[in-house]
């Protein structure tokens, strides 16, 4: 799950998103429910920063869509709050001795929202849809040779090579949801998805709101809430006002500069949890002088991560010199750089570089890249480096990135869980996303080996070695892991903020 998946969401900048409503008291849609809702169950109104583009989990790439779909669909396995993979539609699984066959035992008696039974065929259909139609998550099945239904409750996945991160690949997020074939072929899935999750779609008013009602037959137990209405509020200040006035009870769109003050007064609860996302900048190693590690290291010493984080995120992020956050079991404490303009100048001297001007590419899709770049420009001017900021819309940005048309750029990777997702595509010589053209045979070897290693401790050791080299070579210059920030009314109980930004209202309830 790459940047694209979250693109709409993170562009929570006031103007760049689809959003609307929630401004008023349009809370009650009572009566319009199409049944299934527990009359006594309370309605939670949640303000999203953007409107979903569509609700087909296999096709959307917008975070807003996944916020809704998280509550509508299930995957075979799903990450718990520590991001460890747990049973969901699959009750259990095992792997063959050669690690090439995974067998999943499915939960019995699960029904789709339309009453149809969930079977192994649905799993096969869903996965084959992603693979055959080459949807954007097809890459997750890259090592998969075959998916087949052994019987109604057994699915077998054959892989070409040992794939220890298969669970993360098929369960990491709802883009890998199990969908209903009829729902797809009828063409309804984009606006009226039918899943197996704790809530089902009730009403979708374009530009205004999406309402879900509780699925009383949910395999994990009926939700406490009667319904959840998602409204779309692009303005953080508006979302906050709505939360304070009680029109909404939950939002992830708080004005960052106010979060600290909000937590203290007790009228609103805020949850701030480090996420698995990371933001970085990278220099184009195909272009001199950035092929020289000394120059890249100079940049790594020349930026003050603390100040960048404070400026771009109002402190709602943790500086990090590697990709994986402190909270992950895969975290490796390695931070060789410090803000040291003197050292940076020395390194540039050593490399024989003077009057360096960097064509630095950022995108208005992610406004924090623009803020951070401006701060970095100010900092790097101290070491005699001029940062020419080039702001582009995301389409052009992606084009230029793919063509290598940049000296350096800043972006983030979002929602990764397994270390292989954090490092392979970005730093392996053959990595699909190695746009900075980094190539180090030792790193390639370590990553190849780690990708097939099934022993977690061994894997960790291999990744640690690779990471040290990557950071020393300054292939990416890592900046920070942003926090997941959400706020809700004190009446909302049983809700937890998760590091993968998934929002699940299954266990939540509203007290009077």
């Amino acid at each position: 799950m790459r940047v694209s998946r979250w693109s709409t969401a993170l562009a929570a900048l006031v103007l760049t998103t689809t959003a609307c409503s929630g401004g008023g008291e349009s809370v009650d849609v009572g009566g319009s429910g199409s049944g299934g809702a527990d009359a006594s169950g309370a309605q939670l109104v949640a303000a999203l920063s953007a409107e979903p583009d569509q609700l087909d989990p296999h096709k959307t790439t917008a975070y807003a869509s996944f916020q809704v779909l998280e509550n509508v669909y299930d995957t075979l396995v799903q990450p718990d709050e520590q991001l460890e993979m747990r049973p969901a539609l699959a009750e259990s699984w095992e792997t063959s001795k050669d690690q090439l066959t995974w067998t999943f035992k499915l939960r019995n008696g699960v029904k789709f929202h339309d009453g149809k039974d969930f079977t192994a065929d649905d799993v096969v259909y869903s996965y084959e849809r992603i693979i055959d139609e080459e949807l954007s998550n097809a890459y997750r099945f890259e090592s998969v040779k075959n998916v087949r239904a052994v019987d109604d409750t057994t699915v077998e996945i054959e892989v070409k090579r040992p794939t220890p991160n298969l669970l993360a690949l098929i369960g990491g997020f709802k883009g890998m949801a199990i969908v209903s074939e009829e729902n797809v072929t009828s063409g309804d899935i984009g606006r009226g998805p039918v899943g197996t999750g704790p809530f089902m779609l009730d009403e979708y008013v374009s530009g205004d709101s999406i309402t879900l009602t509780a699925n009383e037959d949910y395999w994990g137990g009926a939700p406490e809430l009667g319904s959840v209405q998602f409204t779309f509020v692009s303005e953080p200040t508006v979302a906050l006002a709505n939360l304070q006035s009680g029109e909404v009870q939950w939002t992830d769109n708080l004005p960052p500069q106010q979060v600290e003050a909000l937590g203290s007064d007790g009228t609103i609860e805020t949850g701030v949890v480090p996420s698995n996302d990371y933001w970085y900048f990278a220099a184009n190693q195909a272009r001199p002088p950035f092929d020289d590690p000394l120059v890249r290291q100079a940049l790594a010493y020349g930026v003050d991560r603390e100040e960048i984080t404070e400026a771009a995120k109002f402190g709602l992020a943790t500086v990090n010199q590697t990709a994986i956050p402190r909270t992950s079991q895969w975290y490796y404490d390695y931070a060789p750089y410090s803000y040291d303009p003197e050292r940076a100048r020395q390194l540039l001297d050593e490399a024989g570089v003077e009057n360096l001007t960097i064509d630095f590419m950022v995108t208005n899709e992610y406004p924090e890249t623009i803020s951070a770049a401006q701060v970095m420009a100010d900092q790097l001017s101290e070491v005699g480096v001029k940062l020419d900021i080039r702001t582009e819309d995301f389409a052009t940005w992606l084009d230029d990135q793919a063509k290598g048309n940049f000296d350096a750029f800043m972006l983030g990777w979002l929602g990764n869980i397994d270390p292989q997702d954090f490092y392979y595509a970005q730093h392996h010589s053959d990595g699909a996303n190695n746009y900075q053209k980094y190539s180090n045979p030792e790193v390639d070897r370590l990553l190849d080996q780690a990708g097939q290693e099934t022993d977690d401790e061994q894997r960790q050791e291999l990744y640690n070695q690779a990471v040290e080299i990557i950071v020393d070579d300054a292939s990416y210059i890592y900046l920070y892991n942003p926090d997941v920030v959400q706020g809700w009314a004190p009446e909302l109980k049983g809700y937890t903020v998760r590091p993968d930004r998934a929002i699940r209202f299954h266990q939540a309830s509203l007290s009077e």
Binding site: L15, E235, D378, T396
Partner: protein
Amino acid sequence: MSDQASSQAPEAPAAEQRFQTLRAVLANRLAVVGLLVLAALVVAALFGPQLAPYGINAIEVEDRFQSPSLDHLFGTDELGRDVFSRVLVAARVSLQVGAIAVGISLVAGVTLGLVAGFYGGRIDDVVMRVMDMLFAFPAILLAIAILAVLGPGLTNAMIAIGIVYTPIFARICRASVLSVREEVFVRAARSIGASDFRLLRLHILPNVLAPIIVQTSLSLAFAILSEAALSFLGLGVQPPQPSWGRMLFDGRGFIEQAWWMGVFPGLAIFVTVLAFNIVGDAMRDALDPKQRSVIESRGQS
């Protein structure tokens, strides 16, 4: 150009007319204030960076969101930059966009209008139908669509605004040409064998200048307004270059804590546009009392 024209006789001596125009404009006290404001803007545009008390990109994160004070007249923004300095320096961008964009529409529109009005017939039909097509879009929407093609940025914003305001110049110019084309002095010149180019340049153009000059002044106002709107939508000037519209765009999320981020850049746009409008109106009153240019051109914005 008009000096040469005066030797060809029967039109009003240009120098005298210019003097009268100036006197009429100066007689309007409001217009004088407008002119003074514009003069101040030109100074800010030329010497902004020298006059600004702080660097426009001097970031002091610990000084962010300072309210207006003697140190920071207009306060500081979310990165701790001095808002006054940025507003001052941004005057250059605004005037630059105004001048270049209007320059584009002026040259393109007047050329097309002259040709269409002078030759008439099929050329006129084709040119004016194309203008109609451009006119069929709401201006800001057309500008947005053009920027979607060209990509956001200062240069492209100027081109987009230039294209959007071309039809109004073409129309005004064409209408004036039509009314002058059959005048005695034009027919006289034609009868003695003057070339088309000579006719256009020496006889027609000088006589259709008045409405075009008025339109130019008013279009400057709308071009500046359009640039601000486009930058406000994130499509115009890109950071770190300061622009009033962009400053409002960036300040949107912070207005509750820092009202000054929302007030001063907007005020700068407003005062500038107002000054251009007032001066433009005064010039219209002096040059071409019958024309309703503000309304016509604003009707398209």
